[in-house]
C-alpha cells in the first residue's frame, strides 16, 4: 500500500519542492536550450562528476526571471543559445565575472567576454537555405539579399527574432545604420510573404515552392537531414550556402554560459562551465546539436562539414551587441514584420 503511494508522494513533493538555494552536489541551470536537447549533455556531466543538474528551460525571459528572484535566486548558471540573451543578462546585472584559466585557455578570445562575464561554448552560423532546383549559384553575400533579382523569392522569420536581430546588428557594425536601413528595405521588398514561423519553416516553404531562398541557422538543416524524419524532404529539397559579408566572413553566433550573480552553488557552477568546454561536451555539441565546437581539435559532424569551410566573420561579438538595440529599432522603423 505504502509502496504504491510512494511515486505519487514523490511527484507531489517534486511539484512543490522549493528551489534549493544551496544543495550539496547540485547545480541549478537556467537554459534557453530546450530541456530535452540538453539532457544528454547534463547526463554525461552528472555521470562524470556526480553533480546533479536541476533545470529551468524557457524560450524567453530567463534573465528577467533571475532579476525578479533577486538575491534569493537559485540560479547558478545561465545557458543561452545566442549572444544577445547573455548580453541582456549582463545588462540586467544578474551575472558575475569568472576568472578561469581552463576556459581562457580553451575558448578563443573572440568568443568570450574579455571581462569574463560570459563564455561561448559552441558556435552556429546564420546561412542561406536555397532551393536545389531553382537556385544555381553556390555563393552569395548578405548584401546580395537586397538585390531586386530576388524580388518575391525570399522567406525569413521575424526581424525581431534574436538570430535575425544579431545578423542585422552585425550588418550595422559593418556598414552603419543608414546603409543597413536601405538594405533592410530592400530585403523587405524581396520577401515572398510576411516574416513568420521559424527557420525550419523557411526550408519547408522553399521545398513547397513558396520562395527560392531564405535564412536559417546551420544546425536546423542538419537536424532535419539527420534526425527529424518528417522534415527530411525539406532538407533534401534545399542546400546550404555559407554567405559572407562583402568585406568579411560568415555571421556566427555562440551558445554562451554565464555564472549567475548570486549563484548559491558556485563551485559546482564553475565545474559545469569548465566541463562544457572539455572534449566530451564539445563532441556532444558537435554530434547531437550539430554546432561548431569551439575547442580546437574536436571534429565537426560530417553533415556540418559538408556545408564547406566556414570562414567566421572577424567582427567581435561584443561589438555586434552594441548595435542590438539599433537593429531592433530599424526593424520597427522599416515595418519589417508588418
Amino acid at each position: 500500500m505504502l509502496n504504491s503511494r510512494a511515486p505519487v508522494l514523490a511527484t507531489i513533493v517534486a511539484a512543490f519542492a522549493v528551489a534549493p538555494a544551496f544543495a550539496q552536489g547540485e547545480v541549478n541551470v537556467y537554459t534557453y536550450r530546450e530541456a530535452k536537447l540538453i539532457a544528454p549533455l547534463f547526463a554525461a556531466f552528472t555521470k562524470t562528476t556526480g553533480v546533479k543538474v536541476n533545470v529551468v528551460s524557457a524560450s524567453s525571459g530567463l534573465e528577467q526571471r533571475i532579476v525578479s528572484e533577486g538575491a534569493n535566486s537559485p540560479a547558478d548558471v545561465l545557458l543561452t543559445v545566442d549572444i544577445a540573451r547573455v548580453q541582456d543578462a549582463l545588462n540586467a546585472g544578474v551575472t558575475q565575472p569568472l576568472k578561469s584559466d581552463v576556459l581562457e585557455k580553451t575558448i578563443p578570445a573572440q568568443y568570450r567576454d574579455p571581462a569574463g562575464n560570459w563564455f561561448g561554448v559552441s558556435m552556429r552560423a546564420r546561412v542561406v537555405y536555397a532551393s536545389k532546383d531553382r537556385v544555381k549559384q553556390d555563393a552569395i553575400t548578405y548584401e546580395d539579399l537586397a538585390d531586386p533579382k530576388w524580388k518575391g523569392k525570399i522567406c525569413i522569420r521575424s526581424g525581431q527574432q534574436i538570430y535575425n536581430n544579431a545578423l542585422f546588428a552585425a550588418f550595422i557594425a559593418h556598414h552603419g545604420e543608414a546603409k543597413t536601413e536601405n538594405w533592410l528595405k530592400g530585403l523587405k521588398a524581396n520577401l515572398a510573404q510576411k516574416p513568420s514561423g521559424g527557420d525550419r519553416e523557411v526550408a519547408r516553404d522553399i521545398a513547397a515552392g513558396k520562395c527560392d531562398i531564405g535564412l536559417g541557422n546551420t544546425y536546423y538543416w542538419a537536424l532535419m537531414q539527420n534526425v527529424e524524419a518528417d522534415r527530411k524532404p525539406w532538407a533534401e529539397a534545399t542546400k546550404v550556402i555559407l554567405p559572407t559579408f562583402k568585406d568579411g566572413g560568415t555571421h556566427i553566433n555562440v551558445s554562451a554560459a554565464a555564472l549567475a550573480r548570486h549563484a548559491p552553488n558556485k563551485a559546482n557552477a564553475v565545474k559545469l562551465m569548465e566541463w562544457l568546454a572539455g572534449e566530451q561536451a564539445q563532441q556532444i555539441y558537435a554530434d547531437m546539436n550539430f554546432e561548431y565546437p569551439l575547442r580546437a581539435g574536436v571534429a565537426l559532424n560530417p553533415t556540418v562539414a559538408s556545408y564547406g569551410a566556414l570562414k567566421p566573420d572577424a567582427m567581435p561579438l561584443v561589438k555586434i551587441m552594441e548595435f542590438k538595440k539599433a537593429a531592433s529599432v530599424l526593424v520597427d522603423k522599416v515595418g519589417f514584420d508588418n
Binding site: F16, E69, Q160, R204
Partner: protein, 556 residues
C-alpha cells in the same frame, strides 16, 4: 466556535478573497509607476499603435464570428427539429475542450504548404509550386479570428441557448398567431430578449482572447497581451510591460463594466419575458426538405472546424508518432504535475470562493457583497498580467521568509513561494476564483432566506447553518465549479509558462515549447491529452443550459 470568533472568521475570509485579487493589481500598478517613462516613448511610437490596432481588429472580428456562429446555432437548436439536432446540441460545446493555442498550431499545419488542403489543391489543379496560386495565410489576423472564433463560439452558443430555451413561448406563439413571420418573431422578440445573455457570452469570448498569448504569438498577431509578454521578456523592460498591462487593463475594465451594465438590463428584460414553466413543452418547429439538411449542415460545420478536424489531426499525429518514436517517458511526470497544480487550484478556489460567498450571505452587508464581486474580477486579468503583478507580492513574502531564517542564524531558505509550485497554484486560483464565487452565488440565490431564518430560530449557529443546510444544497454547484476550474487550469498556458518551478513542465508548457521550436507535431500526444480531459466538462456544460427552474429551493 463561539459567536464572536465566528464573526471575525467570516469577515476575514471575505476580505481575504478580495485581497487575493487586489494584490496582483497593486503589483502591476507599482511596477508601472516605477518606470522612468523613457521607454514609454518607444512603446507609444512603435509598439502600442500596432498592438491597439491588432487587438481591436481581433476582438471586433471575434465578436462578429462568435456572435453569428453562436447565436445562429443556438437559435436553430432551440427553435427547430432537424436531423441530428439532439446530438449536435452537445457536440456544439466540444470546441471548448480545445485551448486556442493548440487549434492554432493544428491549423498552421493543416492549411500549411504541405498540409492536406494545399497538397490536394496542387494535385487537383496541377500546380507545381506554392507560389503558382494564392492561398490565405493562417498566420494573420484573419487566421487568428478564424481559429479563436471557432474555438470560443460555444460561450455564446451556451448563453444564447439558455435564453432561447427559457423564453416564454407564449410571446412568440402570440406573435405567430397574429401573423408575424418566423424571421420577424426572431428579429423582434426572441433576439432582443436574448440580447443580454448573448452580450455576456461574447464578453467571455473577448476576455478569453485577451488572455491568450499562445495563439496570437504563433499566428503573428501583435495583441496588447503579447506586447506585455514581449516587452517584459524580450526587451527586458518590466516597467514598460507593466505600462502596457495597464493599457490592457483599461480595455478589460470597459468590458467588465459593459457586461455588468448588460446584466442590469437583462434583469428587466427577464421580468418582461415572464416565467418559463412551459419551456420544455415546446420542442420547436419541424423543418422539411433542404431546410432541415441545411440546418444540420449549419450546425455541423462549426463542430467540424472547432473540434472534429483538429481532434482528428491530433489523434492521427499522436498515434503515428507514438508508434514511430515511442512515448516520451517524461510525459507521465508532466501530466502528474499538471494534475497536482490543477487540483491545488480547485481546492483553493472552492475553499475561498464558496467560503467568501457563504460568508457574504451571513454578513448581509453591502461591503461584503462588493468584496465578493471584486474577487470575481480575477477572471478578467490576463494570465501574463497576473504573473507580472504577482512578482512584487511574492518577492515580499520570500524576502520575509529569508530574513526570518537568517535572523535565526540559518542560511537563506531560497524562494519558498516564487520558486515552488505555490506560485502557480496561487495565480491559477486568483484567475479562476470567479468560477467558484459565480456558481456559489447562483447556488445560494436559489436557497430561500426563509430557510436561514428558520434554522436560526431553531437555534442553529452560523457553522451549523452552513454545514447542515448550505453545503448539502450547494453540492451540485461545488462539483460544477471543481470541474470547470480543473479543466481551465489544465489548459492554462501563460501562468504556467512564467511561474513554473525548476525541473517542472506542465502539459501546456510542454506543448508550447515544442511549438516554439517549430516541431509542434512531436507534442501531439500531450496536446491530445489536454483536449481529451477537457471534453468531459465541455459535454457537461450543456446540461447547465437546460431551462432554469424559477422556483427557489425551500419556498414550496
Amino acid at each position: 466556535m463561539n459567536g464572536a470568533s465566528a464573526t471575525v472568521a467570516v469577515r476575514c475570509i471575505v476580505i481575504a478573497a478580495a485581497l487575493f485579487v487586489a494584490a496582483p493589481l497593486a503589483g502591476v500598478l507599482q511596477r508601472a509607476l516605477s518606470g522612468n517613462g523613457e521607454v514609454w516613448g518607444h512603446l507609444v511610437a512603435f509598439v502600442l499603435p500596432v498592438a491597439i490596432a491588432d487587438t481591436a481588429m481581433l476582438l471586433g472580428g471575434l465578436a462578429v464570428v462568435s456572435g453569428v456562429v453562436g447565436v445562429g446555432t443556438a437559435f436553430l437548436v432551440a427553435s427547430f427539429r432537424f436531423p441530428g439536432r439532439s446530438m449536435l446540441a452537445w457536440l456544439l460545446t466540444l470546441p471548448l475542450a480545445f485551448p486556442a493555442y493548440i487549434v492554432a498550431y493544428v491549423y498552421v499545419e493543416v492549411l500549411g504548404p504541405f498540409g492536406p488542403v494545399q497538397s490536394a489543391l496542387r494535385a487537383l489543379f496541377g500546380f507545381r509550386l506554392a507560389s503558382d496560386y494564392w492561398f490565405p495565410n493562417v498566420r494573420s489576423i484573419g487566421g487568428a479570428i478564424f481559429v479563436m472564433g471557432f474555438v470560443l463560439f460555444p460561450y455564446v452558443y451556451l448563453a444564447a441557448l439558455v435564453m432561447f430555451r427559457s423564453q416564454n413561448y407564449a410571446l412568440a406563439e402570440s406573435a405567430r398567431v397574429l401573423g408575424a413571420s418566423p424571421w420577424r418573431v426572431a428579429r423582434d422578440i426572441v433576439l432582443p430578449l436574448a440580447r443580454p445573455a448573448i452580450a455576456a457570452g461574447v464578453m467571455l469570448v473577448l476576455l478569453e482572447a485577451l488572455n491568450d498569448i499562445g495563439a496570437s504569438e504563433y499566428l503573428g498577431v501583435q495583441t496588447l497581451t503579447l506586447s506585455v509578454f514581449v516587452t517584459w521578456l524580450n526587451r527586458g523592460d518590466l516597467a514598460g510591460a507593466a505600462q502596457v498591462a495597464c493599457t490592457l487593463l483599461i480595455v478589460v475594465a470597459v468590458f467588465v463594466w459593459l457586461e455588468r451594465r448588460g446584466r442590469g438590463i437583462g434583469r428587466n428584460m427577464r421580468s418582461f419575458a415572464g416565467h418559463s414553466q412551459q419551456a420544455g413543452a415546446h420542442d420547436g418547429a419541424v423543418l422539411h426538405g433542404w431546410r432541415s439538411w441545411g440546418a444540420t449542415l449549419a450546425c455541423a460545420v462549426p463542430v467540424a472546424l472547432g473540434f472534429l478536424i483538429p481532434f482528428a489531426y491530433l489523434a492521427r499525429e499522436a498515434i503515428v508518432r507514438s508508434l514511430r518514436n515511442g512515448i516520451d517517458a517524461d510525459l507521465l511526470r508532466h501530466a502528474a504535475s499538471t494534475f497536482i497544480y490543477a487540483s491545488g487550484a480547485v481546492s483553493v478556489t472552492l475553499a475561498l470562493g464558496f467560503g467568501a460567498s457563504m460568508a457574504a450571505r451571513l454578513i448581509v452587508r453591502g461591503w461584503a457583497r462588493v468584496c465578493v464581486s471584486f474577487a470575481g474580477l480575477g477572471y478578467a486579468l490576463p494570465g501574463t498580467v497576473l504573473a507580472l503583478g504577482l512578482l512584487t507580492p511574492f518577492a515580499l513574502i520570500d524576502d520575509l521568509f529569508n530574513a526570518v531564517a537568517r535572523a535565526f542564524g540559518g542560511r537563506g531558505v531560497g524562494l519558498i513561494v516564487a520558486g515552488s509550485g505555490a506560485a502557480i497554484v496561487i495565480a491559477l486560483s486568483i484567475r479562476f476564483l470567479a468560477i467558484a464565487t459565480g456558481l456559489a452565488e447562483a447556488g445560494l440565490a436559489r436557497i430561500s432566506a426563509d430557510l436561514d431564518g428558520a434554522a436560526r430560530i431553531a437555534g442553529a449557529g452560523a457553522c451549523t447553518l452552513i454545514a447542515t443546510i448550505h453545503l448539502p444544497l450547494l453540492r451540485p454547484a461545488l462539483a460544477a465549479a471543481a470541474l470547470i476550474v480543473f479543466v481551465d487550469s489544465l489548459k492554462e498556458l501563460s501562468i504556467a509558462l512564467l511561474l513554473r518551478p525548476m525541473n517542472v513542465e506542465t502539459l501546456s508548457t510542454y506543448v508550447y515549447q515544442f511549438a516554439a521550436r517549430g516541431i509542434f507535431e512531436d507534442a501531439a500526444l500531450a496536446a491530445l491529452l489536454i483536449v481529451a480531459i477537457g471534453i468531459v466538462p465541455a459535454m457537461r456544460t450543456v446540461r447547465f443550459a437546460r431551462p432554469v427552474e424559477e422556483g427557489r429551493i425551500g419556498t414550496e
